[in-house]
Symmetry: C2
Subunit: 307 residues, 2 copies
Amino acid sequence: MIDLLISKIEEKQNPTVVGLDPSLNFIPEFIKTEEFEKHGKTPKAVAEIFLRFNKEIIDQTYDLIPAVKPQIAMYEQFGHEGIRAYIETIKYAKSKGLFIIGDIKRGDIASTATAYSNGHIGEVNIEGESVKIYEEDAITISPYLGHDSVEPFIEDCKRYNRGLFILLKTSNTGSGEIQDLVVDGEKIYDKVGDLISKWGRELIGERGYSSIGAVVGATYPEQLKELRKKLKHVFFLVPGYGAQGGSAKDLKGAFDKNGLGAIINSSRGIIAAYKNQKCANRFTEKEFAKAARQAVIDMKADIQSVI
Amino acid sequence: MIDLLISKIEEKQNPTVVGLDPSLNFIPEFIKTEEFEKHGKTPKAVAEIFLRFNKEIIDQTYDLIPAVKPQIAMYEQFGHEGIRAYIETIKYAKSKGLFIIGDIKRGDIASTATAYSNGHIGEVNIEGESVKIYEEDAITISPYLGHDSVEPFIEDCKRYNRGLFILLKTSNTGSGEIQDLVVDGEKIYDKVGDLISKWGRELIGERGYSSIGAVVGATYPEQLKELRKKLKHVFFLVPGYGAQGGSAKDLKGAFDKNGLGAIINSSRGIIAAYKNQKCANRFTEKEFAKAARQAVIDMKADIQSVI
């Protein structure tokens, strides 16, 4: 799968992934009012609101970006209606040629991991019929339970040409509490990095990167640079740019000498751009998706300046 | 919430939690045939099959057990229809007075953790209306991202009288790869145990246990015993009994001198009991739920023998 992602990044000349993490807090009133009138203040209304919002964002950005990353929590919190909106968002984004990274961060024992893997990147078996359910191209997962919790996903990556981004050094302030602990002179995230590198060895594509990638936050630029140098075959998904505080110069270390090796996520910074002070004078609420388009263009230029 | 769980354990004189992890592999043919005829080989059929199966299991066991633990992966893999079955299973189990532990093992940065927490143990806000979605009494979560990924859940535990079981020493074979690494002479799971103990200090109930508990596998009896001694206020959710290989004598160390301090999960060992060789001669397929009842009675006696 990694070659597919890289080809899309090169085609768009843009390593930006748009985080499709909708929130009622920043979705324009005109969308909300219409759907609440139709369905009441219900999870069903929220699902319809999220779908309309996402589709407009996708319509205005799909020609500029290689990938989108819906964060499943934003949908899951609204129950089955939310999950329906998550699945339909993926379907719509795929119809526009986008690569889908499902940000699900699952991690569980092998039999449970198999169920997650079947649903998200593989197929479920319904009495002899194979059915694809979520159809993400890649998903994020947690390594905390060790190799047997990761293997079912890796097997499905091989079988269905999918990919993983495994949590390595996350972008949040508390990420160091466990990930930075030092074992035999080496930090936990270094150990996990070695495991990820090992797990991905059989899935290295034509461009030298593996379909088993890692999540490394833009908010820790030193570690990002150090890990990039060390983990030659591991592609990085980098959250933390924009709203979480990471800037373009923090991203420099994420890329190799060819400008490859990482895809940079921004969520609120793009999809809620019309609310930013910088944009607020230029775009009306109705033009929220155009504001998102401009934010993508600005972010692309910002990142290009350091690769 | 911990006092509620303890009161239910004492009322039933049974620290068993039944893992409601349905699988088409072991659900009786007569249930499957009927639903596939009505709905085709679809996720909707699977959802109806899971619901019928779960309800019969609950009907035959609710008077004997304090709690059930649905594993969300088994449902989530079938998309939004699966999640609907998960939510309706919880609703039904609650109507029978059971305590619900949602086995979701989520772990993400604070803003995302807030979304998971709102949906599962708190409330989502839909344009000023507070709506409860999943309504588990407690959930499992992962500590890998550190304190800020856990805090939103703890806040909701205080606000809504809910509880957590945080992954500490999991039951799978690979659990040692990260959890057993040694830092400054102490294992990671010891460090995590100290964090869990600290996080739970404000939520200690009348019986001396906190609503912030931990997951410790029955498959590591030595560590279970050692952690029980060390973490006086931390209630344990113990998976790994039965199908995963843990036996009653492995559980002895999980309990304090009053026979409290732990709740023991069994999933397939109970809900698929009618397929076990021991039961197969005594129960027909139609009696699968009666076989589950017998398995609960046997497990209760087995555990009582060591407390």
